[in-house]
Amino acid sequence: MNNPHHLNPTSLKSRFTTRFLRALTKIRAQKPISSSSPTEIFRRYRRIKVAADKSMAYSVRSRRIWSRAMLWKLRSRSYRRQDPCSGRRSGKTNQAIMKKSSNGNITRRREDGVGFVEEADELRQLVPGGETMNLCNLLDETAHYIKCLTTQVQVMKKIADFYSF
């Protein structure tokens, strides 16, 4: 058997794949496979989706604004789920920090001479952490986010195909 493709072991794809597979096995190990009800499937779907996002964000390692924002979001959500009291506390303080930094950007409405404010706002809602970015950084982050999303979709598709036949 010849191996023509030698994937870089430190590339984004391999980092994401190893992390995601690890998370998948953890999820599958938790639940017994007997359940096939839609609620169970839905619960597992939530967990798998979170695992996919989290492993992608960890692979990027908080070098990017969107990955940091996503990690923060996931972490705050998990804290809130575990312990409502502590979640409220930390969530409030973190949100206060976020609002303080982002208020200056949002309320100013960002009319800086370029004519696409509505699209930019919509893009800001799509990209995690986009509210705190000016247009320049937003486009930057969007490009990197698109690249990571395509990698994610590729890998997950291959995994799903592998296990679904």
């Binding site: 493709h5 994937l7 096939s36 370029v114 930019a120 893009l123 486009l139 036949f165």
Partner: protein, 374 residues
């Protein structure tokens, strides 16, 4: 470097000694710089914009450079015509090259050896054209210098101060570049004739250039955006693409949740370690194959067939389409392939990565299919 630029800026008479000194200085300092440029390795984790998008540096530089190339032709390099009379042709060419090389865009850690030459050829042609077309230009305009190293920023600022009020004025985005030095190479802004040259409009123009450069790169990322003209439509396309990608991730995670393989992943021991060494990957694959052999793959297909039609017809189509040929492959190859240990070794030993395998024609290995499209 500073004294070198200073001597070239003045329009004093060139003496032989000055010429030699300049030539010596430039050869001294410039070769060091070129060596520094050449030896900077291109890292995978370079956070420059071009490395990030995995475009080769010259191509990205061309993209960014192209809106400025027209302006570049318009304004000549001052060194060249100041010294045009006095210098011989070889050193003239050397100066052109030097000025051209200074305008090489240098992303951090992203310097390839061909990029200085490529852009220098481009820019030297432009500069020579400029020299011939505008001999009457006598004012010493600002050289279009992009300094690849940090210590040259001081020189740039000093040169900028030397510029008197002119119609043609260029501004290197030094302050913005200090923020974006890692992200995007310098985008040069040159005020056209008759345009306002105050700092606000220049800064705005610089920002717009940056935004346009990024939009161009985004257009390449998103398929089908090249034909669309108009930034608002391109942005809409980008938004649609991001939304579709996010939805695809959701669908795929639903599918993964529903697929519910009968395979028990007993990889706890394998995955407790942080980095996954190749030995673990080998075990992982062996276990994967053993489990697939023992479990009935038909059950998986039936199960997913049951769940899918209710909610995601598109996903179901996808899985159904690929079921049958892969099943045949799998059953045919099952016995002979995975019974033998040496075949697994062939899969695993050359590479440390989980992902570097052959096409799926050989086996139903998802690791193969993982790699086929790349």
């Amino acid at each position: 470097m500073e004294s070198n630029a200073g001597t070239l800026e003045t329009r004093s008479n060139r003496t032989a000694s000055e010429r030699e000194e300049v030539a010596a200085l430039e050869s001294l300092q410039f070769t060091d710089e070129i060596h520094r440029l050449m030896s900077a390795p291109a890292t995978d984790n370079a956070s420059s914009f071009t490395a990030l998008l995995e475009l080769p540096a010259p191509q990205a530089v061309q993209l960014i450079h192209s809106p400025d190339s027209a302006k570049l032709i318009a304004a000549p390099a001052p060194n060249v015509e100041d010294v045009k009379g006095g210098f011989h042709f070889p050193s003239n060419g050397g100066l052109i090259e030097r000025a051209a090389r200074f305008s090489v865009f240098a992303g951090e850690g992203n310097n390839k050896s061909d990029s200085p030459e490529a852009t220098s050829n481009n820019s030297s042609a432009n500069l020579q054209k400029a020299v011939k077309s505008e001999p009457a230009e006598t004012e010493s305009s600002q050289p279009l210098i992009s300094d690849p190293t940090v210590e040259n920023r001081g020189i740039k600022r000093k040169d900028r101060e030397k510029v008197k009020g002119q119609t043609k004025k260029s501004k290197t985005t030094a302050k913005e570049s200090s923020d974006d030095a890692e992200k995007l190479p310098y985008v040069h802004v040159r005020a056209r004739r008759g345009q306002a040259t105050d700092s606000h409009s220049l800064a705005e123009r610089a920002r717009r250039e940056k935004i346009n450069a990024r939009m161009k790169l985004l257009q390449e990322l998103v398929p089908g955006c090249n034909k669309i003209s108009g930034t608002a439509l391109v942005l809409d396309e980008i938004i649609n693409h991001v939304q579709s990608l996010q939805r695809q991730v959701e669908f795929l995670s639903m599918r993964l949740a529903a697929v519910n393989p009968r395979i028990d992943f007993n990889f706890d021991s394998v995955f407790t370690a942080e980095g996954v060494p190749p030995q673990y990957l080998k075990e992982l694959l062996i276990k994967l194959y053993d489990k697939r052999k023992s479990s009935g793959s038909l059950m998986d297909s039936n199960f997913s067939g049951m769940v899918m039609p209710m909610m995601w017809p598109e996903v179901q189509l996808n899985s159904n389409r690929q079921q049958y040929p892969q099943q045949l492959h799998f059953d045919a190859f099952q016995q002979p392939v995975w019974g033998r240990e040496e075949v697994c070794n062939n899969y695993l030993t050359p590479e440390n990565s989980l992902l570097s395998y052959d096409s799926s024609a050989n086996s139903g290995n998802f690791l193969d299919t993982l790699n086929e499209s790349t």
